[in-house]
Amino acid sequence: MATHILLDSLEIKQFRAFEHLRISKLGRVNLIVGKNNVGKTSLLEALWLYAYQGAPNILWKILEGRDEGRGPVPIEPVKSEDVASIIKLLVHGRKNITRGITPIEIGPINSVDKTLSLTLSWFTSQRNEEGIRRLVSLPPDQYELVTDAILGFEMKQGRKQSIYRIDTRAARPQDSENNTCIFVAASGLSQTEVGRYWDGISLTSLEDEVLESLRIIAPEVERVSLVGSRSLGPRSDRLPIVKIDSADDPVPLRSLGEGMNRLFGVALALVNSRNGLFLIDEIESGLHYSVQHKVWELVFEVARRLNIQVFATTHSWDCITAFQEAAKEDEQDEGVLIRLVEKKGRIIADLFDEGDLSVVSREGIEVR
């Protein structure tokens, strides 16, 4: 393994499908496979939560991504019992959580300082002597006795420790130590995200990287940009357009096919993940098998150059073989395939390194 990667192993406890998942070795580029409902997306969600230290806005994004948040959470706090019934979907076993939970823990194996621990607790808001409101912890059997009990997470990571309420979608204050982490859902990026990530790289050398990636599918693309759309209104909702050498006027990116749109999202999110984590669900979605090899080449190359650790999921055999080929061509041994399987009611991780992968791919051994 070459240069520093953020996570060289991973342990997840009490989150979603994972009672206790251990992944003894991670690569710079990790591909996650497994049957439906074994927790491939949950693994990405756990990493997302880890990178943002359990921030409530990420918590709600995770829930809403699966229609579990029951619509946008109001800015004003809602009833804590209702919040508890939603938050329990993130907790292993989905049991009633009003009396507390076994902590959710996410981090490298045997690394107490780096492991993120989230415990659910009840709080009440009280003024201290200086008149400043603070959250004060309540014993679990007393929350029903207090009329304004608030549900919150106690977050611990090494020496860092904080409490935040989870009945609002407030982001935590910007913390310079926070890792960069971008999650791309199977459905792709929202227009707002596309706008934000484009603004993050516009007129920098990274813009050229995105342009190069589009040429994987359409070599005739000369330039790419984002423009406001009259029909869409707000400035944040802008559409990607491209200039191709055979046409005088730019055309919407989407007119070149859904694959182009997906590739644009993948490349844009990837280069914005510099020095952080890039998480992508169903990476092959919308991409024809013939371009997947080049997409993986791009991912391996950019990930190393911009110091990004990549976690992708797939159901596709073509995607696995394309991953294996790109990993083999890449000079450093940086690709790992993680298969999640259920054994005796528990989800475990089975790892395939690049050597294993070349056998699997050559012999057509089914690992999905």
Binding site: W317, R362, E366
Partner: protein
Amino acid sequence: MSKPSKPSKHLIVTEGKDDIYVFHHLLTHHGISEGHIDFRPYDGIEPLLEALPNQLRESELKRIGIVVDAESKMRTYLS
């Protein structure tokens, strides 16, 4: 690069294609249906042994039979 067919539950791996014919006749002789058994021939003992650790990890695999020639070299392979 071969694409996996349906994952095998019951698999017999052999050193070569000829071994499969032997098994085909053996099963027919005993009136055993081949329907739920898959065969995978390798191109000799070396490729078989190289692939075996990962072959054992195939999803859905419940039982595997390994057919190799009983040669004097077998002792070295087993050790």
